[in-house]
Amino acid sequence: MALLKEAYQALEDVVGPDNISEDPAILDSYAYQWLAELINPDGGHFMTRPEAVALPGCTEEVQGIVKVCNKYKIKCKAFGTGWGAWAAPYDKDVVLLDLRRMDRILEIDVDNMYAVVEPYVIGATLQAEAMKVGLNTHMIGAGASAAIIAGVAAFSGAGADSISMGHGSENGLAMEWVLPNGDILQVGSLGSGCGWFCGEGPGPSAKGLVRGALGACGGMGVITKCAVKLYPWPGPATMPIEGKVPAYNSPLPENLRAHTLAFPTWQAFADACYKIYDSGIGYIAHRQFNKWGEALQGAVLKIVSDPTKQLDDLEEMLQRPEIQKLTEEMRHSFQIVLAGMTHRDIDYQEKVMRQILAETGGWEIEALADPEMEKWVLLYLIKLPFKNLNFAMATYEGSFAHSGTPDFEISYIEASRALKRKYIGKGVLADDGGEAMMAAIARQGGGGVLALEQFFFYDPQDINSVLGAQAYLAEAGKVAGEMKLGPGLSGQLLGSKPKDKLQQMLSSVAQPSVFHYQRKIKEAFNPNDIGDGSYVYLEEPSKK
């Protein structure tokens, strides 16, 4: 259904003719999305085409659009950078709000260690500005290209640095929220005229309402301004960059060090996590390079860190004895960046790390301790500028994404691996060996929770691979449900389409009442149901 002419005119009156379009070419550029092929039963690459796309430039324009949508009962959905199927319409008759004109860093308060940003500010730009004043920002796992506010309000928000900087939901402070009914709610201290320093008050505490259990995915109004916590950065004001494209690296002072720690077993791996939580060491801790799979990680790592190599070299690299040795060594490993505020501090952290290795039977992987390699790892983990090396081999998605205590987390690795190997055996997924567990060693500030995500790789251009990946994802969601892992992150939700399966999955979690409350929140805040279906909730039992 095309928009009513008067509704389109009303939207155009809000943003001006240059900032709205219903041209099919413009609209389809927004409908195309990564992972759409895993949602569409026919493997198509386009999500639902929006009815129009608007580019609001300020809060007032966002509010104006939302009011028009309420008046004409049109659904609307906003996004920051718009990466992934979640950013496209889940329903028909949706007006998309591309927030890229709202891209300012409004304030960096050095004394109180926070920044106020608009929706199109990304991790890379906020980090660059924060580092100039000795601060740093939490970078969500999606990397430098992801919008800061999306990490706070729309998605999960865990990242490599969560061990010291926390989860996205922990980092949101005061916010300006255009509610789905068009009202503006100032969340936290902003609501009582006290500035941006706190998300919980004085003023209304509504952070949980903003993001819900899993992130609102743009389906619950629009956060137009948000303050986020900043953290100490004990490095240079601008990270020096060396190396040749595409394998840049960063030589950093001695108080910043990167190590790859390996362990003989998963249990030793988990034990090391506990010891790291207890000791309080670590600026960044992530199981990063294992994402390319247990059989390929050594070769791909060497390829992407060497400017002269490329993917076409993979088969040859896999034959090299030193690569095979590295791959084997990396089997139960993760990276840790230690950042010392003083020389004594870094020496202490190094000492503790060595002690943890001794107590768990672990070791540091020598090939990655090479100074040139360390410079590359430091850049990778601190700025997350190469995060899309996730795609170096093929298109990927996560499955079995879950977080919990390390002992619990390692308990489902083998089951997850076995299921994935079944589909590798069918030839539909890339043969990475089976286990490709990306892991945030701590999902929350100070540690205590390990987050795993089993990557799998497929070719979006190959319909057999796509349909096979769909089948894998659906079965992974079912198995995860049976294991009481809950809906987890994106993979399970994508696998739970259509909506009846989503309802089934949300009902099966340990505490389904969460998603009943989300329905009640939606009813209260979104009375005209203008939000897109990406905001998930459990329907009333009588309406099932």
Binding site: D28, L296, Q310, G427, D432, Y458, D459
Partner: protein, 425 residues
């Protein structure tokens, strides 16, 4: 290649938006983090490499037709083809080639009669007068009037200096090819020019989608140089350099190709050009897209895709990767640093991730406001370094910077690198 050959590029695009930014490792500030002029000026996602690939896929899939969209030509032509997207994408998607795909889309549009009206006068003039400057062919050699230099159509020379359309017809810039030829001659190089018989290199038409015109001019130039018996082609034009270095070899050209920054830098190092004067100025250097990231030499490759380990796509044999690694970055910097009294300061976006001047891809001809906006952005970046002047090595860049500065009333000076060399002699 045909448009269908790029379907895999379209369908494998992860829509991550890396194409919109400079490589994230190099982001030093909020202000100069953006990499793609087209998306920054035009805002809608369709005006990015990823967006364009999606629109092209939609067309291929028949989701809409040419007649359904009023924006289609704008989407595909409002882009300088600067290639920043290609660099940023390849950092993580090693096998992505968005620039080649975007070029192929333009070829397809022209084949289908989807012509941009603003380009037609320029293309018509090219077909009639063999230049991209809307001028008469008879005026082509005027830039060299009074220069005592061989005409290679009349007498033999080892090296031919190709002035290119911009330097041949933009009188304000004539000093640059004249300086180039004089420097070469005085250093003992056996150099000549084609004078009024010089032709367009064809690359600007190529980037507008007119592949046939490009091929015609490439073949004519190769034949003319062969007839003249030259061994080496030197040019001060970055567009021409890209054509001769990267594209002409695909049509059988075997000539050695140098940009003047390469050739003259070598002469400086060999002591054949010596500086005697101080040039007390602080400058910043702008890397032209076609000399920098797109200035990599052509490497022949024939092969095909295959899958290994079920679903990993590789090319056999190994395919050369154009990712800006081997562009011409050092020679101009070495030249500038060798000039006594001159201080070189760098902008935030340089080398393979430089911001474009705005003049390429048919944008200067069709969308002058967008073109000048892009140049103004670069001037702002140059000013932020504290430099007194921005230096470049391409006539198209220089013209666009001069026009942008005149339009905005700014005070930054613009030089071709050879002008500073001349001042130091």
């Amino acid at each position: 290649m045909a448009i269908e050959d790029y379907r895999s590029t379209m369908e494998r695009c992860s829509r991550c938006s890396y194409c919109k930014w400079i490589p994230f490792a190099h982001v030093k500030s909020w202000r100069f983090a953006k990499g793609c002029p087209s998306i920054e000026y035009n805002k809608f996602h369709a005006y990015s490499a990823g967006g364009r690939l999606a629109v092209a896929l939609s067309l291929l899939d028949g989701r809409f037709d040419y007649s359904d969209s009023d924006s289609l030509l704008d989407i595909f032509y409002k882009c300088q083809m600067c290639g920043l997207c290609d660099i940023s994408d390849k950092i993580c998607r090693y096998t992505m080639e968005p620039l080649e795909a975007l070029r192929e889309i333009r070829f397809k549009l022209i084949e289908d009669g989807q012509l941009l009206p603003q380009h037609m006068p320029v293309i018509d003039n090219l077909r009639k007068e063999d230049n991209m400057m809307m001028k008469s062919k008879t005026e082509r050699g005027k830039w060299a009037d009074g220069l005592d230099v061989k005409d290679v159509t009349q007498e033999s020379a080892e090296v031919v200096f190709h002035a290119g359309c911009r330097f041949s017809y933009d009188e304000e810039l004539w000093k640059i090819p004249r300086t180039a030829v004089t420097l070469l001659k005085n250093a003992g190089v056996d150099v000549g020019i084609m004078g009024k018989d010089e032709n367009c290199c064809g690359v600007r038409a190529y980037n507008m989608g007119y592949r046939g015109e490009f091929t015609k001019y490439a073949e004519n130039n190769i034949e003319a140089w062969t007839t003249a018996g030259v061994k080496t082609v030197v040019t001060s034009c970055a567009d021409g350099y890209y054509a001769f270095k990267r594209l002409y070899p695909q049509l059988g050209s075997k000539f050695k190709v140098f940009h003047t920054v390469e050739f003259i830098n070598r002469l400086i190092k060999e002591g054949k050009i010596k500086f005697t004067k101080n040039v007390p100025i602080t400058v910043t250097y702008h890397d032209p897209c076609h000399l920098g990231r797109q200035g990599e030499p052509y490497i022949p490759w024939t092969g095909e895709e295959k899958k290994i380990r079920n679903q990993i796509v590789v090319r056999e044999p190994r395919k050369p990767r154009y990712n800006g690694l081997n562009g011409v970055y050092e020679p101009p910097r070495e030249m500038l640093k060798s000039i006594p009294g001159l201080e070189l300061v760098e902008m935030e976006r340089i080398r393979e991730y430089a911001w474009c001047c705005g003049a390429g891809g048919g944008v200067q001809e069709a969308y002058p406001e967008f073109s000048l906006w892009t140049a103004t952005e670069r001037i702002e970046e140059a000013k932020a370094t504290g430099a007194q002047a921005v230096v470049t090595a391409c006539g198209w860049c220089e013209r666009n910077f001069i026009d942008a500065i005149n339009e905005s009333g700014q005070k930054m000076k613009v030089y071709d690198i050879l002008e500073l060399v001349q001042q130091a002699l």
